[in-house]
Subunit: 360 residues, 4 copies
């Protein structure tokens, strides 16, 4: 790891690599984002209203037409104090036919309903296949979660606005109100590109971080959380909290069965472990992995033709999933700025200068 | 579109035991219903509006204060083309802290949000622990499912009106629009009471039936579906269907761990098998089991004191869970009346005279 | 069901169809055996020594060269009081690279070691990939199980002698000492052949039955066990029992992913349910399913080319798996003859005349 | 971390803490070993014969009389290229009634049979409950694995010699021939003792390490494997390998349900992740956790009285399980000495001086 000089403005936010933190040994893709997996789209809708509402929606679409062209997918629950709707059908069919929508814990119903509304508007003939995929973290420290502020239009805009290219990180979309390791968390992303001899595939991760306690935080192997003991969340009034969670989305263009994708989802949690988490009891630590290498028509067909990687030959992908997840988590911290929200509660962005100091 | 007149002789509805069909060998409880398990409450809200809307909500509460006093629970997915929100947290915590709410596939989001709204109204301080438990079947043959007709008040009324005592069955609550084995299905319930030497415990089942094809139907071992080949659903216009499913709720007052309750949930599917189902690919066949023998405060406590049945001594409960589920399914058929709904589609109640004829 | 006339010699053993019992609606393959799936081999080694030893080994090979050419596979544990070695690797790799070997509970180690010995003799270069697949039932009522009478040669002969064609049933191979529903059980098999419009695939089942209590027994929907209450096992001295189990092996030539095979394995347990079982707590009720449509080289390869059935189009296979399992269980009973074994314990074969009488 | 001075003899072996490597923040128990959990016994049998045979057996007994007094237990498979016999019954009954026996991949059958033999000798009346618990790693680089050198007496001695107190680590017992991160691995152990306010419970870990590639190795957050690129295994002749794995045994005296123990087993894999592993495809990464707080009679009983920790209050135990596993893995490396075995293959013990240098 090479520590680049950085101007120490407390609120300058940069990605980990921009300040010299290089996680792992595999090279990232050009954007170092889940969108390096071709066809994957990400959309954010950030909702900040007055002092109290700091929440939002983030969507990941495996492909623009995922509603009609399903992709192989699987999910892994490391610790289940979280919601991932739609999971039984993903596991049974080995397919994902919905955007993965991330939001706050109290708005799962609103968001679910908005996804169905969107689907019905999009396809006037659609009457079946209605199992929306919504995951959540609890943002009640910074967000007046009881207001359930998410409207259908928020969800529609997140989906319609989803795009490839660079992904906004930190306090954005579903990440606006999230807290991770006692610092401001939120959205982070990263990617890894295999060497040509390993197939040249790309693995991308996008995380919504809201987990962990300060003393646990590890960055690139260094127990940074023990070095920066101040700047804890300033809770002006008890928020009745709360739970904390991390949702990890893994995308790849490698041709994989759903079962192999389950294995990738599990490796995401190994990347999580390297940032210090032990998946606390009140945490919903859930990973979803999908492959864009094949798509299957919603209407089904008698025979599917699949090319898949040998289940015994997946190590480079495993390494990539762990590394990309670890770096995505760090990015969610280094990119999230200090936020004051509900009841004046204040959560600090990790100070980059002190982070680099601790890493020396 | 108008509702065709129906001859009322054909439509006399009775429970299986009332017409002499006795499933299994264990005696039912006094109500032969899930509410034989003391403290369990059931509420229905039936929603029929004009020609198109035939849907509803059914709730099962393990106890009135389940929001604050959680009970051991577990779920089993036989085939996952269905939704059961809240499942990861049930599995992880071994506890259920929400009513189990059954509804139609397109209204999961609406119902989920209404449960959260209800919770917030009920408890002004509540800000966390927000993982509602909603399961669904697809009622789009008889219900204009795209209308998403369920309002928060429907859910509130179902919860507030939930009670012990006899349980309405057939085309009621979430069961209004359901179709099972090509006959009108919906809600069914049954119970079994152990002998004193087996502990005297009660096991109750409540099902929402929307599964199976006609030729599969077996009643008390007899392939009735092959005997009654007419009276198939009259589909006047393709409903773009659809999927079919069964949700099975198992309650008991026996003291059991969550893992042992998982085993009861699995036995529910053996009862299902005896009615002819092979859990078709488009079916969401999901069982949830809970015990009322203990309740745990939502806020937690360092040590829980549990008395539990030995995991090796559960056979009478297994038998009871299978029998009660089988009989509940039959009750859902014999109690559901012929219904004409969306687009004039018409689904016949199983004719009791011909059923008895076939059973002779 | 058409009841054919049968000569009433108590010990005449016939297959269910030979005496007019026709389970289900799908036609069997030409042998009505698991070996109707082309390439599948079955071998038995029956070990009867003196009064006490009544045990054996039964092997199912997906293909002769399964050691080097692996096939997609999956397993499902309905109730886990049983052993299935090798399961983690099957589930992880989605592949089976060993014969499935059935035996008695005390000889799992012996048989496991013999399989490794066989493998080493067969392939002098082989040093890795050593996870033998052994399943068991407890035959201690008829077999002096403490003697652990199985020698390597027994296993070698079962493997070397494995063949296609008709399969011996009843008190043969691993089934010699087994007891099912209080009658003599053991090995049974059956198959189903899909219609051409459903792909023309074959599904075969082979079971080792040692499960259930008499009063539970149901044959073709009729509670036969309640009709034949005598002829219970004559236990001259307490055998310190015991446990009871059923191992179900499902084979198909349909191209399926491991996950889809898991679904077939689950349907086997629905067939089991129809014979009356509720999977008692002391029972190891385990199903393994494999497909012969593809084989993958043990050494691996970067890309596997797979044609697979759409995961949403499997209903005919599900029906077939349930039916074939149900019929295989019945065959295991109707083919097993009255056996006197360890300590003079005596277990009766189900009397075919009384069975047919009960079915009328 | 404080780096204590150490004499740099290449083959001086010390535990991590002896050379100043302190993993995590929770204090170890007095022995820093799994045997800090009262009643837990560990036994080793090391088998070195001539040049070729370098293998052995290690047993962990939750209690001396575990054969008759079962303890709550659960297992978690992170990656399944490994064997853990007995797993279905552990999961179903929530109980463990056998020693956990670790050995090499080719000797699982031998060891399994020896455990049954031991049980039969120990209890002349025992005829049922015969599901031995055997796990394995592949030691074929240093061991002539085809010889299957383990005799029943080896297993008997390991069990009979099992004791509390300090635990031998490194190239001992089942660890004699194991290789981890390209260094000599084997047996390692560690423990953590909760603060009184967290209940004062102890969590212990014992690992058999045979996993990982050199470049992955991380010690206390530092990518040591990238710093020490030489001293790779010297393979004089291709060993036809082989697979690599890690078995993790977690013990605690905290009163826990089996489901809660499953959560501890999962946290062991988070500790594994921190040593650099991504659970490669050919690895059998399996964790088993048990509690000594309760014991249940083998014969069963209608009601079990359990005191258990609230499933929502387990964080200190989770942290402890992760930390103890991580440290146990490091101990397995720092305690294992350079070994020359089969075909002259040579695997180096990690040089402690260079390790400390890298950690500076």
């Amino acid at each position: 790891m090479c520590l680049a000089p950085v101007a120490a403005g407390a609120e300058e936010r940069k990605r980990a690599r921009e300040i010299g933190i290089e996680i792992g040994v595999i090279a990232p893709g050009p954007l170092n984002a889940i969108t390096d997996v071709e066809g994957v789209l990400v959309g954010h809708e950030t909702i900040v209203e007055g002092d109290g509402v700091h929440t939002g929606v983030t969507v990941v679409l495996p492909r623009k037409d995922v509603w009609d062209r399903l992709v192989p997918a699987s999910a892994f629950v490391l610790n289940g104090n979280g919601q991932l709707t739609g999971m039984p059908w993903i596991e049974e069919s080995e397919l994902l036919g919905f955007p993965i929508v991330l939001t706050n814990s109290a708005s799962v119903g609103q968001v679910y309903d908005a996804v169905i509304e969107y689907l019905f508007r999009r396809d006037p003939a659609r009457r079946a296949g209605l199992q929306a995929v919504v995951a959540e973290c609890w943002d009640g420290t910074l967000n007046d979660i009881r207001r359930r502020a998410i409207r259908p239009e928020h969800v529609f805009r997140a989906i319609d606005g989803a795009s490839g290219g660079a992904v906004a990180e930190g306090a954005v979309g579903a990440g606006v109100g999230m807290v991770s390791y006692g610092f401001k968390g939120g959205i982070g992303t990263s990617s890894r590109r295999m060497l040509p001899e390993n197939g040249g595939y790309t693995v991308g991760a996008l995380v919504l971080t809201n987990h962990g306690s300060r003393e646990q935080l590890v960055v690139d192997g260094v127990p940074v959380g023990r070095a920066i003991r101040d700047l804890l969340p300033e809770i002006h009034e008890d928020s009745g909290g709360g739970g904390n969670s991390i949702i990890m989305v893994i995308a790849t263009d490698a041709p994989l069965t759903a079962r192999a994708l389950q294995r990738l989802a599990r490796r995401a949690t190994l990347g999580l472990a390297r940032t210090g988490s032990t998946a606390h009891a009140s945490s919903g630590d859930i990973a979803v992995a999908f492959s864009t290498a094949h798509a299957f028509d919603r209407r089904g067909g008698a025979i599917l033709e699949i090319r898949t990687l040998d289940p015994r030959e997946l190590d480079p992908l495993f390494d990539a999933a762990a590394e990309a997840t670890e770096e995505a988590i760090v990015n969610s911290l280094t990119m999230a700025e200090t936020t004051t929200g509900f009841r004046g509660n204040r959560v600090h962005g990790i100070p980059l200068d002190r982070l680099l100091e601790a890493l020396k």
